[in-house]
Amino acid sequence: MKHVKTLNTKNLKNSAAKGGCGECQTSCQSACKTSCTVGNQACEK
């Protein structure tokens, strides 16, 4: 494409199908302790 460069082809819908195992880190245990940022947590699968 000439006008668009896509950085990722992530589709959250796909993660809905396989996700929800709950094994990932509880976000507050990482570094924040006050301001939740879930988007930087890693998936354990």
């Binding site: 082809t9 992530k10 819908k13 396989k18 094994e23 507050c28 006050t34 939740c36 940022t37 988007g39």
Partner: protein, 451 residues
């Protein structure tokens, strides 16, 4: 839903419900809302005098292709996941273990009130610590990865119990099939060679509290004698990190109304050799002199951008840069949408245990009687309270449902919402403004580094 913004020379377009992120040129940036809302012929007619016909048609076609491929204006279907998610079996898989309600620093902004959480000073006994591990093993159902954060006050004031709890948990792992991951949040005062080696061996993550520049740190983080703590702790933190190898750690500061130029504190810590840095806005009643005020937010957002641009410069000119916790974002993987709906899990899968074994929704609620959930022996008995926390998700708040950042912050911090609005199921608007700015910087950095 889309969100578009500019960072450095890039126009960035986010498709919220697919998670796709695009860098687009100026024509696409101007017309994208119309391409979504209007028939193609109307879009072409609207912009025909402004752009060359061929260019315009090409841009419209490319945006329509994104839409056809599910990467633009994607429908929000996640609300349908909420009922199943609310009916999940209650599981507790993470505990903030308050091994010491006492502290050897006298930080002015401490939400724990110098460590004792507005109650009595006290140390957790090994008996309570073991009961907490048993509680987790019993209530974590089929979850394998279990997290325990040694917290305080200052957890190293009760180091023998920390070691005892770790030993006990390791012995329980074999029979239960669990994998305990320990973290510690420490102010560093008591670190010595023996403790450093122990933490580096046993702690999956360590969070080291330092606020940045010496004068900033020492103003808010004095010792009990009123002296500065910077010179005491910095050499110890450096030694710990030097010996830690590749294991996870963060050097973590709190910024307040007194240092809204906190990017200088982040850069100071990075320049001291720390590669993993975090800085958090203070949570405080607004009447306190150090509390962030509404007028500070614009300055803070500019400061996040200054930090991001300096990080970009270091990446490009110095061939590498430290990590800033809130600018780390995984655009190709990251958590599933279930996790993104539910957030930190406070009050449900994440609880805090006090030195006497009482359970609270998280460390921020400890000492508030109305939030007591139960204890480590009987488990969670305040089911009503647990249900309130379980119900918090991005679709339980209108402000979150309509926000482009919802799948990155997941509804924010319940304690912040409660402290500012008296309701856990609400939003802390200043926090939202800062969060959105952090995300724009995080994604903007990724885009700039993808060139």
């Amino acid at each position: 839903m889309i969100h578009k913004f500019q960072f450095e020379d890039n126009n960035i377009l986010m498709d919220v419900h697919s998670g796709a992120i695009h860098i687009i040129d100026d024509i696409a940036y101007e017309i994208v809302e119309d391409v979504i809302a209007l028939p193609k012929a109307e879009v072409l007619a609207k912009y025909e005098g402004k752009y060359a016909k061929e260019e315009l048609e090409e841009a419209v076609e490319e945006l329509l292709t994104l839409k056809a491929e599910g990467m633009l204006d994607t429908e929000d279907t996640y609300k349908d996941l909420v009922p199943a998610f609310l009916n999940r079996e209650p599981v507790v898989k993470a505990l903030c273990l308050h091994v010491a309600h006492d502290c050897n620093l006298k930080c002015k902004y401490c939400f724990a009130g110098e460590g004792e959480y507005h109650g009595d000073r006290g140390m957790m006994s090994l008996e309570v610590g073991k009961a907490a591990i048993d509680f987790l093993a019993k209530n974590s159902a089929h979850r394998k990865n279990i997290e325990v954060d040694f917290f305080g006050g200052e957890p190293l004031m009760n180091f023998e119990v920390v070691k005892g709890v770790v030993d006990y948990a390791r012995s329980v792992e074999k029979e239960t099939g669990k994998n305990f991951r320990f973290t510690m949040t420490t102010n560093g005062v008591l670190l010595n060679d023996e403790i450093i080696d122990y933490l580096n061996e046993h702690m999956y993550n360590v969070v080291l509290s330092l606020d940045g520049r010496p004068e900033v740190n020492d103003h808010m983080r004095p010792t009990v004698n009123g002296k500065g703590s910077y010179d005491i702790i910095l050499p110890k933190f450096k030694k710990l990190v030097e010996k830690r190898g590749n294991k996870q750690y963060y050097i973590r500061g709190t910024f307040t109304h007194h240092n809204t130029d906190f990017a200088s504190d982040v850069l100071h810590m990075a320049d001291q050799g720390f590669a993993e840095v975090s800085a958090e806005p203070v949570v405080a009643p607004k009447e306190m002199d150090y509390a962030l005020q509404a007028d500070d937010i614009k300055v803070i957002c500019e400061e996040y951008e200054r930090l991001a641009k300096e990080m970009l410069r270091r990446h490009k000119e110095e061939n590498g840069c430290f990590n800033f916790f809130h600018f780390m974002v995984d655009l190709t993987g990251g958590p599933c949408v279930h996790k993104r709906l539910a957030g930190c899990g406070a009050g449900s899968e994440y609880l805090a245990a006090t030195p006497t074994g009482e359970l609270y929704p998280c460390h921020q609620f400890v000492g508030m009687p109305e939030f007591k959930m139960g204890d480590v022996w009987k488990g969670v008995e305040n089911i009503e309270q647990r249900k309130k926390f379980e119900k918090c998700n991005v679709y339980s708040k209108d402000e979150c449902t309509s926000c482009w950042a919802k799948f990155f912050c997941s509804g924010g911090c319940a304690a912040n919402s409660y402290n500012f609005n008296g309701d856990i199921n609400s939003v802390y608007e200043n926090g939202c403004d800062m969060q959105r700015k952090r995300l724009e910087c995080a994604i903007g950095l990724k885009a700039a580094l993808s060139e």
